[in-house]
């Protein structure tokens, strides 16, 4: 655990000391604010809870896309610059490298979540929303962010190019997002399985203020599988 903390702290410092992370978060915030203003707030009068639910829907999509860009550098950059040799030659487990990097990206992603809180606060000022709804929504966003970053970490482990890493992770996220399309041309029970793969279906409960264990388990499983795969890729690199 000590090594995970060490690697996470260094990685987080790297996010905080370089511009790329701030730029990605700034773009995410800009688009989120724009969409919030254009879709969640605008239009006919609607209940505050609906505005809040739409805010979480928009933010979850931006979180998933942003996660791909925030995580693309995690391992690819280490391979590109050769610093991976430092980690490989140190008494550190491969899983500690992956967890440390993932943890740093997740903490940095939380900076984005914190920066979006002005929008639910605006809804709370001008309407009536429950704290439970906000808490459930943000918990869901964290789960979405964690699974997106884990997929991004896996993509980043596959290549030394950050651009290729982003493309690979983007394709994986897109596959998870559009899995339900495949459900239209398949029969049960395959349809149920394919429909169950789409992440936004599992986020639906969170956006309305509900927390179901099965949805938490879904995001937990996606995160675990992606991080496990990233670890295996790093291990396999030693043989190549």
């Amino acid at each position: 655990m000590k090594n995970v903390t060490l690697i996470a702290r260094r990685e987080l410092q790297s996010y905080l000391r370089t511009m790329s992370g701030y730029i990605i978060i700034a773009v995410m915030l800009f688009i989120d604010g724009l969409l919030f203003n254009a879709f969640a707030v605008a239009g006919t009068a609607k209940p505050s809870s609906q505005v809040l639910a739409e805010f979480f829907t928009l933010t979850s999509g931006i979180t998933m896309v942003g996660a791909v860009f925030l995580s693309m550098r995690l391992i690819a950059e280490e391979r590109q610059t050769g610093t991976i040799a430092l980690l490989y030659s140190s008494p550190v487990l491969d899983v500690e490298i992956v967890l440390g990097k993932f943890l740093a990206a997740f903490l940095f992603m939380c900076l984005f979540f914190a920066s979006t809180t002005y929008m639910p606060l605006l809804v709370a000022v001008y309407g009536k929303v429950s704290l439970g709804h906000i808490a459930a929504g943000y918990f869901g966003l964290m789960l979405v962010g964690a699974s997106g970053l884990a997929i991004g970490t896996f993509g980043s482990a596959l290549t030394r190019s950050q651009v290729v890493a982003a493309v690979l992770s983007g394709v994986m996220v897109l596959a998870l997002t559009t899995a339900w399309l495949l459900g239209k041309v398949t029969d049960r029970p395959l349809t149920d399985i394919v429909n169950g793969l789409a992440w936004w279906g599992h986020f639906d409960a969170f956006r309305t203020g509900l927390v179901h264990l099965k949805h938490v388990a879904y995001f937990g499983l996606v995160t675990f599988i992606a991080l496990f795969a990233a670890t295996r890729v790093i291990e396999a690199r030693r043989w190549r």
Binding site: N3, L6, I7, R10, T18, T81, T83, A85, S89, S90
Partner: protein, 311 residues
């Protein structure tokens, strides 16, 4: 300290190193010589637990690189051919991170980091951001990270790469200082850079060891023991005749003739230089140079790898 038996590493279908076997004793400084792509870096990466071997056995302090890499990593400091530096960190911050990663306790942290910076003359640059450092200083930080946890084995892959002549001398001096405290493996393809600091050499070509031993061993291997290089002004024939008459000389060859200057190679047994000088003076030849030919490592290396002498 290090036992290597039948070490082989394939990259896809291509063998980077093939069936390498050697042993290295504690405290030795070993030079890995080879041209670019000969397999030096791959060998050092396997010893540094960065890569796993395709086959063969590597034991370091009794631990196997395939079975107990974690134990080995605690005992080694590795500098790859490109120093593994995080550009946005300060020198001291980076060294603290590496030290902690390699198991240095909080109580020893400051001591170890200060010691590594002192040995590599980085103390004045401790607060500098790494991205602002020159190539020479980056290389020093690379060496500092390798020794910050005081490992018993130091693996330095081309530590003099890209340095200017003054920096090369400083780096050589640094490695010389590390001798005794650590077992050191150092690689280079520019032989003059490590010719004065190593106890033994392993010459690698196309993934195989083609020669090993001290500089003298390598020289003997090529039959150069006792060879002397002589430079005189013409006429060369008079000098050759005089040299052939010297007791102990078995062969004299003209290796180069440039204008009035003739370069001769004298082969024989024992210390020939005093007799050679006397004979040349007696023959009224103007002596420009008398030196042991085989001590030039470039010659040995080029002969081993290309079968020809250095120009």
């Amino acid at each position: 300290m290090i036992q290597v038996e039948g070490l082989t590493k394939y990259y896809g279908e291509r063998a980077a190193i093939r069936d390498l076997s050697f042993t290295i004793a504690k405290g030795e400084v070993i030079g890995f010589l080879g041209l670019n792509g000969a397999g030096k870096s791959t060998t050092l990466k396997v010893l540094g637990c960065v890569l796993l071997p395709t086959s063969g056995r590597v034991l370091i302090d009794g631990f196997d690189v395939s079975r107990d890499p974690h134990e080995i990593r605690k005992r080694i400091g590795f500098l790859p051919d490109t120093p593994p530096l995080y550009d946005e960190m300060t020198v001291s911050g980076y060294l603290e991170f590496v030290a902690q990663l390699r198991g240095v306790t909080s109580a020893d942290l400051d001591l170890r980091v200060d010691d590594a910076m002192r040995k590599t003359s980085l103390t004045d640059r401790r607060d500098d951001v790494i991205s602002t450092l020159s190539h020479g200083y980056r290389q020093r930080v690379g060496v500092a990270q390798a020794l910050v946890h005081n490992p018993s084995l130091l693996i330095l892959d081309e530590p003099t790469g890209g340095l200017d002549p003054v920096q090369i001398v400083e780096m050589r001096e640094l490695i010389r200082q590390l001798k005794g405290e650590h077992t050191v493996l150092v690689s280079s393809h520019i032989l003059g850079e490590i010719s004065q600091i190593c106890d033994r050499y392993l010459v690698i070509q196309q993934g195989e060891i083609i020669a090993r031993g001290t500089e003298a061993d390598l020289s003997n291997l090529l039959g150069n023991a006792g060879a002397v290089e002589v430079e005189v002004t013409s006429p060369a024939q008079a000098a050759i005749d005089a040299l052939k008459a010297v007791a102990g000389v078995t062969d004299v060859t003209l290796t180069r003739l440039e204008g009035q200057t003739a370069q001769l190679r004298v082969v024989g047994t024992g210390e020939l230089r005093p007799q050679i000088v006397k004979a040349l003076v007696a023959a009224e030849a103007t002596v420009l140079k008398v030196d042991k030919a085989a001590t030039r490592l470039e010659n040995i290396f080029l002969k081993l790898t290309h079968g020809k002498d250095a120009p």
